[in-house]
């Protein structure tokens, strides 16, 4: 394929997109640096609240998780724009290959796990993967990961639950209710509990994994500090307080707790979404009814 040198305008647009991609994160970091006081000692709390809005039903605290999710959202928006900027059939670019690879991977995943009927779910699964992964990975730049806030993940899980219910209702409300009485009507309370447990378990799994990573990181940092103090405490001068063990070791653990766990939980959340939605849809029954309806017409 012909390789065309990028024009000046193209480069300017590219630079703007990259800038816009990074800017929200910089703003979030700035907010954190400016408004949040440095913590001292071991402190495990939820997100810091910048300010609180008075809303009906309950107040809305604009916390770190809100700001950071918005930052992630805007970043992903510009990432999408950047990666698809100037891709054309005849021009071969690295980003086009990456974008194509990602899209094809997600579509393959959806087709494999949900079947071709749910092919339209690919962008949704892609959105879940991106949002979840980036929300967790934002902790790499020192920001509060929105996924370690229960409410953020709960919102996604409720959306997934709505989709599950929507597909279960596709064969009519009676079929949906009947589904709870299987295999015997006695199982009704258990089935209802199981139904409600789905979003709850999805939420808690994701949120708990990310939060536990953060908690372990904090505990470990404190423990390593204590170990340094215990061993080098008798040295004179500034060496006494030098946290030698805090160099390097937390970085290695961060690979697991921030990088790996974040990506893994995003993948698990997407996987569970696909499985729950596809199994919720009674495909055979739906097709049978559709055929009967077509015959009646």
């Amino acid at each position: 394929m012909p390789y065309k040198k990028a024009g000046k305008e193209f480069k300017i647009v590219d630079a703007t997109l990259i800038l816009m991609m990074v800017a929200p994160l910089l703003v979030a970091i700035l907010c954190k640096v400016l408004f949040i006081p440095q913590s001292e000692g071991i402190e495990i709390t939820g997100a810091h609240v910048y300010f609180t809005l008075n809303m009906p039903v309950s107040t809305l605290p604009i916390s770190e998780s809100q700001v950071n999710s918005a930052a992630v959202l805007i970043s992903i928006f510009f990432l999408c724009l950047f990666i698809t900027h100037g891709i054309r059939a005849k021009v071969y670019t690295k980003r086009a290959v990456i974008a194509e690879w990602a899209v094809e991977k997600v579509e393959g995943l959806v087709n494999e796990n949900m079947g071709t009927y749910f092919a339209g779910f690919a962008p949704f699964i892609g959105a879940i993967l991106l949002l979840s992964a980036f929300s967790s990975l934002i902790s790499l730049v020192g920001l509060f990961a929105p996924t370690s806030d229960l409410n953020v993940v709960a919102g996604w899980a409720i959306l997934v639950f709505m989709l599950i219910t929507y597909y279960k209702l596709k064969c009519g409300p009676w079929y949906y209710v009947k589904g709870f009485m299987e295999p015997i009507p006695l199982m009704l309370p258990m089935n209802i509990l199981g139904e409600v447990a789905t979003p709850v378990s999805m939420t808690l799994r994701h949120y708990g994994n990310i939060l536990s990573g953060t908690v372990i990181s904090v505990l470990l940092a404190a423990a390593l500090q204590a170990a340094s103090n215990a061993i080098f405490g008798n040295l004179p001068g500034i060496l006494q307080n030098f946290p030698l063990f805090r160099i390097g070791i937390p970085a290695v653990l961060s690979i697991y707790f921030d990088l790996f766990s974040g990506c893994l939980q995003a993948f698990i959340f997407a996987m569970l979404t696909m499985l729950y939605v596809s199994t919720a849809f009674p495909m055979e029954e739906y097709m049978k009814r559709k055929q009967i309806k077509e015959k009646a017409n």
Binding site: P61, C80, L150, V152, V153
Partner: protein
């Protein structure tokens, strides 16, 4: 600064996060999946066009090849025929030439035979005349007299006739 509890449930936050995912779904669909799929479709169309063109050209080439092959085979046949014709012609001509030569040789031979016969006859005639002359001289000398020229000639002729009959 105030912080949230580790487990804090807030309906508005849940709603915002819910909306965030929906918004991101549309963003990803509109700005990532659609352009990429469009590009892939365009490229596939391009590739399909190229393949189709190639197939057409291949078809044309194979048709040409068949044409030329048939022409070549007919050319072979034609060459064979030409050679056969030439050989036949040459055979005929050689036959004619040989026949002519034979005829001519026969003619020469016949002529030679005729000539020889003629020569023989001439010689015979000459010998006869000489014998006649000789016998007439001999008889003249033997008889030493002239009886009758006419009678003599008749007698000798008769005699010679006898000799000729005998020989």
């Amino acid at each position: 600064m105030q912080t949230l509890d580790i487990i804090s449930i807030n309906i508005w936050q849940i709603l915002i996060s819910f909306c965030n995912l929906i918004i991101l779904f549309f963003i990803v669909k509109k700005f990532l999946f659609e352009p990429v799929k469009k590009m892939v479709a365009e490229r596939e169309a391009l590739a399909a066009g190229i393949i189709e063109e190639a197939n057409e050209q291949k078809k044309a080439a194979s048709a040409d090849k068949a044409l030329w092959e048939s022409k070549l085979s007919t050319a072979d046949k034609e060459a064979d025929e030409i050679i056969k014709k030439a050989v036949a012609k040459a055979d005929k001509r050689s036959d004619v030439i040989i026949g002519n030569a034979q005829e001519r040789a026969d003619g020469i031979l016949r002529q030679a035979k005729i000539d020889a016969e003629l020569e023989q006859k001439k010689a015979q005639e000459g010998i006869r005349r000489e014998i006649i002359d000789l016998s007439s001289v001999l008889t003249k000398k033997m008889l030493k007299r002239e009886i009758n020229e006419q009678d003599h000639r008749e007698m000798i002729d008769e005699f010679l006739q006898d000799i000729g009959d005998i020989s």
